[in-house]
Symmetry: C2
Subunit: 173 residues, 2 copies
């Protein structure tokens, strides 16, 4: 199935000069959605995984389906202030400024084997922070799975401490 | 399965005096997560549905699993400015001020039979706005499904134009 034909290029989002890979047409297409999920399930079904971690907010979409399909639990990583219970947070640098992500303090059992899921790997800042936060909490990051990887942003280099899988790669904008 | 034993009460979130029903322990528990999804699938598997619509952000979790399990497409409703492509928006009143939600302009095919999904029915403002936005775009709202309904906030009264289903009801805080 040629998923790249279904992904939509949106110019100048979120900022002028950026070509955004819009996955919503993939989601709205039931065949494409099933196909994507089944490909990722196929990749990870033999791995030892205890927990899926989804990254706020589009990452929830694929993380929750994978948790269901693989019959695992789902933990969610959110931006600061969104999770109701006590959290552990992790602050990381952006190009300009910084950002903070949080996990509930009891969401990663010690030694838990975790698969981190997001829709898109761009520069890898949030995924890298998520990986290190999980390690800090005693979890083991088995791999990170993305639907789309923008190779030219070199996120994989930033994620050198982790195993990275992506379904669709783009070499240039 | 007694799901209410797994839901966590968090006091004073997001504001002092509020008891927040935290569903993250349900998500992290694989048996509970499977059970919830399967209950909702059971309820809707015989209904004619073309598309699931998930509400930003925790609604994505259940909406996407239901889309996968029912083999339907998934469209996402987001707060203003989050969707990359051209959108149709809907502004609604809050207790203080107002809020705006958006859908991509091509996400609801004319006549599409839609199931709206969110995790929690509180006052029903966002769900009601979503229902009316979908109708305005030519879709047909088959039902709205929630995992938790806070009866004492009377969201169901606000949603009187729609069929409402919820899995867990709370009569009082």
């Amino acid at each position: 199935m040629d998923l790249k034909k279904i992904v939509r290029d949106v110019h100048d989002f979120p900022k002028p000069g950026i070509v955004f890979k819009d996955i919503t047409p993939l989601l709205e297409n039931p065949e494409a959605f099933q196909y994507i999920v089944n490909q990722v399930v196929e990749k990870f079904k033999k791995e030892e995984i205890d927990l899926i971690v989804g990254i706020d907010a589009r990452g929830f979409i694929f993380a929750s389906v994978l948790a269901y399909a693989l019959k695992k639990g789902l933990a969610i990583v959110r931006k600061k202030g969104k999770l109701p219970y006590q959290t552990i947070s992790y602050t990381y640098q952006l190009e300009y400024g910084e950002d903070t992500i949080e996990l509930h303090q009891d969401s990663i059992p010690k030694g838990a084997k975790v698969l981190i899921v997001d829709d898109l790997l761009a520069t890898g800042g949030t995924a890298n922070a998520t990986g290190h936060l999980i390690q800090q909490m005693g979890g083991q990051v088995v791999a990170m799975a993305f639907i789309i990887e923008l190779n030219f942003l070199k996120g994989r280099e930033k994620l050198k401490d982790f195993e990275v899988f992506s379904l669709l790669q783009y070499d240039a904008e």
